[in-house]
Symmetry: C2
């Protein structure tokens, strides 16, 4: 039987610790092709590169048995370049993105470059997963998550996913006790409450650093924030139809626009 | 009665034709504050600037009666900067973004910087609208859309929107016949089929331009692509919960992950 073809991308860049772990995990499951950004792209959301050129260069940093490219583009660009230029006529059996260094639970899914690579896969109709570690520490440990990375990828390879669905998988930080298991969740209702740190450059011109606190409004126990807080792996199945379907009839009833 | 406070942003940058039209329209409805990118940010999706500094500088290009700032940030950054640094304790009655030079129908809502400013408004709980013109011609004409821009903004100011909902409004290009009216729509099922134009720089190093064709799979007559093709203004109410709720029970039934 042919080994599955697995495309790996991320948003922390091709040299990050998270993607090296992910490549090692995926090598146990299939043939791995990497197309990932050549520099960190955190917070890039679903950005794509239009009006600018894109680089795509081969790299051997994952060893001889992994075909790998680094690109100047965003995570979404990387998946597009992989499909159209690297894989060409070959169809990936799975697209995985990550393992992101930092949380992509709740509203962060919108800002996440990691998830944009996974969503791009779903748009193309391929099974895809974004993996993130909810730990911002510089020396964050990924090892406790790796058995789950492999098990979740294997489930998707074996059982597939509904078309145009992707998984947003987040891992709790390493704690003394073992991860309790996996929870299928919905996206928590939460947001970032930004603060801007105002400073002045050596020329006296003002600039800002964005900082912020995560505010969770959600009291439910079926959401990804609850799962992480309680030491479970959270898996949110995601889709990309933003329509607020429930409001269509209301707007049709209440609105009256005539020009 | 106090005039409504209207925050204006966009992704084509503070000097673009579309934002000038939008500011003129909004001046008829309320007090206008502009915070917009200092350079074009098309295709930025919901990117935010983390790990880099942000500039925010006053500009007088909209005249004396409009408080306006240009920022080095993305459209989403602009809304965050506006809330936390420019408006401070004042609450906007409406956030509008655009008028984008180019379509943001269907799947383009995910790649759209215009819509990310509007969605950022919805995350903060403010009524918000993204406006886009489905015309990529360099000399695209916006004037035929302006009465609709005002009428739609006025409806939102008068009647509000369900909390955490934003509107993705697209206008057909100027045609010989008048726009037929407004349709409340869902997001069409469609995607971009990319092509990459491979070239070589003067040093012989390879680069790519992304190009692509829009492919519409959707045969319905209740979606935004249909509305634009039939010379209606399309209005898609949007929300930002990406959860594929209908798949949660399926995954719970079928999956079995034990480590």
């Amino acid at each position: 039987m042919q080994r599955p073809l697995i495309l790996v991308s991320n948003d922390d860049g091709v040299t990050s610790k998270g993607i090296r772990h992910l490549v090692e995990c995926m090598k146990e499951l299939g043939e791995v092709v990497v197309v990932a950004p050549n520099s960190p792209q955190s917070g890039m959301g679903h950005a794509i590169t239009i009006g600018n050129t894109l680089r795509l260069d081969k790299t051997d940093i994952f060893g001889e048995d992994v075909t790998a490219y680094e690109s100047s583009g965003t995570p979404a660009d990387c998946v597009k370049l992989a499909k159209h230029h690297v894989l060409k006529d070959r169809t990936p059996d799975l697209i995985v993105s990550g393992i992101n260094h930092g949380s992509n639970t709740s509203i962060s899914v919108l800002y996440s470059g990691t998830m944009s690579a996974a969503i791009e896969g779903a748009i193309e109709g391929y099974p895809s997963i974004g993996f993130s570690l909810c730990d911002y520490a510089q020396d964050a440990e990924f090892v406790h998550a790796l058995d789950y990375v492999k098990a979740i990828a294997k489930q998707v390879l074996d059982k597939g996913l509904p078309k145009h669905t992707t998984l947003n998988v987040n891992f709790p930080p390493k704690r003394n006790e073992q991860i309790k298991g996996v929870k299928i969740c919905r996206q928590a209702r939460a947001k970032w409450e930004e603060e801007f740190d105002q400073r002045f450059d050596p020329n006296g011109r003002r600039y800002f650093w964005m900082a912020g606190n995560f505010v969770n409004f959600d009291k439910g126990e079926d959401n990804d924030e609850w799962a992480i807080a309680n030491n479970y792996v959270s898996i949110v199945p995601c889709q990309f139809d933003l329509t607020a379907h429930h409001t269509i009839s209301m707007l049709n009833d209440e609105w009256d626009i005539k020009i």
